[in-house]
């Protein structure tokens, strides 16, 4: 439909059909019979500072003196809305206080204790006239509106200076004076008493937006207000052409922005967009009054008209209530008759929320305080199963299918609920109103909406976590590759810079290893085939251990007074392992001595280096190697004492070869090996101490401690201080033991 025709229809006052809606009992006569009154000054005022920290900072601090209308916060963001002191007094505290919200969660608030004098701020001045502001620019007017902290007073409290500065051209300005909710009469009384001021405010908005048409929409249950506004309109600055007052048939919720636009223009605001994109701006009539005060008088938004109504109040009517007045004060002032079992509803009966704590303050969006007694509104009734009657769909103003939304919300199928346009629900309550099964539909939708929001949040977090993880694995991978590349590079460099002699040395070493391996393989008749099989080795090792255990068990009292290495320091794990290795060695020795045919399967065991007198094969396993090293050292000691020649083990078994010379044990290169050596020496020392008291002769194989030998035979590791200390301690202990035994002997 071309816009011009629409304007023609608007000029004629055509109304479009509004979809759905209900006719709840209006009950407006309770509060629209008296003029707007005022309340006395409260004991304290609580001004919520929601935006502090996000888009504004405090302009005052605790203890400051403030005047009525003085600025309390300063903006840091273009959308910030400053708050002002509602009366003069001292800022007692800035702390968390319960908020005026369905959740009742605490919010940072500025608590002002009034001094009773209600002194106006010096910024507020006598009202200017329309011609005085004729020269002002739009930016100046918008700045005044922002500085006054004006928000939409219809309930949504959207910053007005943003709404009146839209990006698109505005062709239609609608002043929303519908007030469709039952009980509320605030806008009605304001229009009856302040129609000229309202029209001035409308004129200011008209000047800002320059729309082609202006409609003041009033519901037809307010005939006095309509008449007053007509008179005021004639007196006002507004042009006569393109401005009209339209009376709209009473229907809830025709006052909703989207519904009102549909009624007045037949157009629908597309889901997810704002009316400005259609070239329409809707403003509440009370906001117009506040704009006039702000622009012409620099009077900030510090008070508003609040309807106090319901059967539980002795003085129902409308009141000018300063923003920040605790609701408890309003209740006592208006003669509240109820108790804790009653509800205190902020807003109307259809969309208002029940307040838990009445110490919360009146805020910019609080247009009504509904105080019903127990019989006045609907009694709480049990939820029955849905009979799919479809009444909810008949009354839904957003043309949704509340029934399907309910089924899916109840089954927690939130994605299906979203498919049925859950997001478009305006929570007006019409569906719940008509439901014959008393199903709290709006409550289900609210839960569903918050569940959808939480799910979206979690999904976003999971997505971020996944990204971080992927980046991390990528980073680690890159580092690893870089490291490898560097190593490779270094190896290359080393190779290239290595002299030929070094290379020869390396080659010779490799050859020696090979030869030794071959020799060991040919000499040891008992050695098994060369191809080492891990599994076979493991099996062999297990068998060896079992045999050692058995031997240890079978020879608890050694024939030659064998010591029992297992007694040595059984508390220490490592020492126990070493002791076990020693026992194994002993057993093996016994077995070998017993029969010429040594057990063949033990020769491949990595743990067993004592298979041939010729040398020590390189053990494969680290721990086993250490044990092997200890055993080898013991063996070597024995051999040394026997005086027989033991072929020097090859130096080429680099890292794990402690037995180089018959004279002693060479320094272990490894730190751990040093520790083991120290442990062994300690064990030996202790052993010496024990043995000295009982037996005379030791079996040299097993004797881990020769009192005269022990301290010297363990060569200290060259590079480790700790090991050296340990060895020294062991030496000392051995000496001490030796001295002790010698003294005992004497």
């Amino acid at each position: 439909m071309p816009v011009l025709t629409l304007f023609e229809q608007i000029d004629k006052g055509t109304l479009w059909r509004s979809i759905g809606g209900i006719h709840p009992p209006e009950r407006k006569s309770l509060s629209n019979r008296t003029s707007i009154a005022s309340l006395t000054i409260a004991d304290e005022y609580i001004v919520p500072l929601n935006q502090v920290g996000e888009s504004s900072v405090l302009a005052i601090s605790e203890g400051d003196y403030v005047t009525k209308g003085m600025l309390l916060t300063r903006g840091t963001h273009f959308g910030h809305l400053p708050v002002h002191a509602p009366t003069s007094g001292h800022v007692t505290k800035i702390e968390q206080r319960p908020s005026n919200h369905a959740s009742g969660l605490p919010v940072l608030s500025c608590v002002i204790t009034p001094d009773g004098r209600d002194t106006l701020s010096p910024d507020i001045h006598a009202p200017l006239s329309w011609s005085d502001i004729a020269a002002w620019s739009n930016e100046e007017i918008l700045k005044k509106i922002q500085d006054a902290g004006i928000a939409g007073l219809g309930g949504a409290a959207f910053p007005t200076h943003i709404k009146l500065n839209p990006a698109s051209d505005i062709e239609l300005l609608i002043i929303n004076a519908i007030e469709c909710e039952p009980y509320i009469t605030a806008d009605d009384m304001l229009m009856r008493e302040q129609s000229d001021a309202i029209c001035l405010g409308i004129a200011i908005i008209h000047r800002l937006l320059q729309p082609k048409r202006l409609i003041i929409a009033i519901e037809d249950n307010k005939p006095d207000a309509i008449e007053e506004m007509h008179h005021a309109l004639n007196r006002s600055q507004l042009p006569k052409e393109g401005v009209r007052i339209t009376s709209v048939p009473t229907l809830y919720p025709s006052g909703g922005e989207k519904q009102l636009i549909q009624i007045l223009t037949g157009e629908e605001v597309p889901s997810g967009s704002i009316p400005a994109q259609l070239g329409i701006v809707v403003q509440n009539v009370a906001t117009c009054y506040a704009i006039k005060e702000a622009v012409l008088r620099s009077y900030p938004l510090i008070e508003r008209v609040v309807t106090v109504t319901g059967n539980n109040t002795s003085n129902p009517g409308n009141y000018w209530v300063p923003i920040g007045t605790p609701i408890s004060h309003v209740l006592t002032q208006t003669g509240f008759r109820g108790n804790e079992t009653d509800k205190v509803i902020i807003g109307g009966p259809m969309m208002g929320y029940a307040l838990y704590n009445d110490s919360a303050p009146i805020i910019k969006g609080s247009n009504c305080l509904l105080l019903p007694d127990s019989k006045e509104l609907a009694p709480e009734q049990k939820e029955l199963p849905c009979v799919r009657c479809g009444e909810c769909a008949q009354v839904c103003p957003a043309q949704l299918l509340p029934q399907q939304l309910f089924w899916h919300a109840k089954a927690k199928e939130y994605d299906k609920a979203v498919n049925f346009n859950l997001a478009d629900c305006i929570e007006c309550g019409c569906c719940t109103y008509v439901c014959p099964s008393n199903i709290p539909l709006v409550e289900y939708y609210r839960i569903a909406k918050s569940a959808v929001k939480t799910e979206a949040e979690e999904k976003k977090q999971a997505e971020l976590a996944k990204q971080r993880f992927e980046l991390r694995t990528q980073r680690l991978e890159d580092e690893r590759l870089a490291r490898e590349a560097k190593q490779k590079e270094a190896a290359e460099r080393r190779k290239s810079t290595m002299s030929s002699t070094d290379k020869d040395a390396v080659a010779e070493a490799m050859a020696r290893i090979k030869a030794k391996k071959a020799a060991a393989g040919s000499n040891a008749s008992t050695t098994a085939p060369d191809a080492p099989d891990n599994k076979r080795k493991d099996v062999a090792a297990a068998i060896a251990r079992a045999k050692a255990n058995k031997a240890a068990q079978n020879n608890p009292d050694a024939s030659a007074g064998h010591s029992q290495p297992s007694e040595v320091n059984s508390g220490d794990d490592k020492k126990a392992q070493i002791a076990a290795a020693v026992a194994r060695a002993k057993a093996k020795k016994a077995a070998q001595q017993g029969s010429k045919t040594a057990s063949s399967d033990e020769s491949n065991v990595s743990v067993d280096p004592i298979d041939t007198p010729e040398g020590v094969t390189a053990p494969i396993d680290d721990k086993k190697a250490k044990i092997a090293a200890a055993v080898a050292r013991a063996k070597a000691k024995k051999v040394a004492q026997q005086g027989s020649k033991i072929a020097s083990s090859d130096e080429s078994t680099v890292s794990l070869d402690p037995i180089d010379t018959p004279e002693g044990v060479t320094a272990p290169i490894d730190d751990k090996k040093a520790k083991i050596a120290a442990a062994v020496s300690r064990a030996k020392a202790k052993k010496a101490a024990q043995q000295a008291s009982e037996a005379d002769s030791f079996d040299e194989i097993v004797a881990p401690v020769k009192t005269s030998d022990a301290p010297q035979e363990v060569a200290p590791p060259v590079d480790d201080k700790k090991a050296r200390i340990a060895v020294a301690i062991a030496k000392a202990k051995a000496k001490k033991a030796m001295l002790k035994t010698e003294s005992e002997k004497e």
Partner: protein, 350 residues
């Protein structure tokens, strides 16, 4: 001070499901009265029997399901189902037919599927179909309308026949008209006659008809129509399903009649015979088993109307509402899926 909290809205129309069902039952009373006048007390006895059985069986099942018995019974849905079954069953059918049918409707079709709001099929109609298939003789033995019967059934005899069983000769005695010829229902008469090759005019000249409408059945349907209009006015039901049925039936029968008046019955006869008005206003409008959206309901009603015409004209049974309604119940989810209304702010239907 801390106050009571609750979710908005805090106002409610408080028109309960129980009063909904109650109003439906009350609006059916005129039709029941007329039916009782023409076909004897059997109708009332069957209705009362079915209602009692419905209440008892629902109470038992609710106990088994560990639900609150009084609360659920108070929603009057079991009573309404019982009433509709009682009206649909022939007045002299034995008591066990009614009992079996009601048990089937309440326990299996309604409660086994989850109780009120969860059943897929209309319980009364599913029970009727089950009985029709299982006990065809008993379910098709209607009496002759009292104004033209050779001997109308009185109350004691009705009681006796229902509860102590009646021989087929006794029943056929009550089927006799003035002329001693056994009478079937008007729709049954027309069907057999057309099958035999008679024209509609010839069939309509039989005693069971007067002025082109079935004797007795015409007034019964009128009474149900009146009750239905009261329900519409009270907004107990909405017009879409009923309108769909009646419009579709009217259009289909008009087309048939215009094509060949000799072999197809006209729209008025269709609209005021058999269970047309009863089903259109009271049975098919059962919200649980119907489609939900406005467009969906129109389609749902039209589907029933078309099916009724087809089955009545070409099918094997004289009256077809039970089958048509059950078939439409099957289609309801499908209809709902494709007939979603367009929400505000969405130009294309979502």
């Amino acid at each position: 001070m801390a106050f009571k909290i609750a979710s908005s809205p805090h106002l409610s129309r408080s028109f309960q499901t129980s009063s909904l069902m109650q109003r439906v039952m009350l609006c059916a009373l005129p039709g029941v009265a007329v039916q009782c006048f023409f076909f004897g007390w059997g109708t009332v006895i069957q209705a009362l029997l079915a209602m009692s059985v419905a209440l008892i069986s629902e109470a038992l099942v609710l106990k088994l399901r560990a639900r609150n018995v009084t609360e659920t019974l108070r929603d009057n849905s079991a009573l309404l189902t019982g009433l509709l079954i009682g009206i649909a069953i022939p007045p002299l059918a034995p008591w066990w037919v009614t009992v079996i049918g009601t048990l089937f409707a309440i326990v299996i079709v309604k409660q086994l599927y989850g109780g009120l709001g969860h059943n897929i099929f209309n319980p009364a109609m599913a029970a009727y179909v089950m009985l029709l298939i299982s006990f065809p003789v008993q379910m098709t033995s209607w009496v002759a309308p009292s104004v033209i019967a050779s001997q109308p059934v009185d109350f004691i005899h009705s009681l006796q026949m229902i509860f102590t069983g009646a021989s087929s000769s006794e029943i056929s005695a009550y089927k006799l008209g003035f002329d001693g010829i056994s009478m079937a229902t008007p729709l049954d008469t027309i069907k057999t006659d057309l099958a035999m090759g008679l024209t509609t005019i010839e069939s309509l000249s039989k005693a069971i008809f007067s002025n082109g409408f079935g004797v007795g059945w015409f007034w019964v349907n009128l009474a149900y129509l009146a009750g239905g209009l009261v329900m519409l006015k009270l907004k107990v039901i909405r017009w879409h399903i009923t309108g769909g049925i009646l419009a579709a039936l009217f259009i289909c029968s008009s087309i048939g009649y215009l094509l060949n008046p000799d072999t197809f019955t006209g729209p008025l006869l269709h609209l005021f015979s058999g269970a047309t008005m009863l089903a259109a206003f009271f049975i098919a409008t059962d919200p649980v088993t119907a489609a939900t959206s406005v467009r969906g309901r129109l389609v749902f009603g039209a589907l029933i109307g078309i099916l009724v015409y087809i089955i009545r004209t070409f099918g094997g049974y004289p009256d077809a509402f039970a089958f048509a309604i059950l078939l439409a119940n099957l289609c309801a989810p499908f209809i709902d899926h494709y007939m979603k209304p367009r929400a505000y702010g969405h130009r294309s239907a979502t």
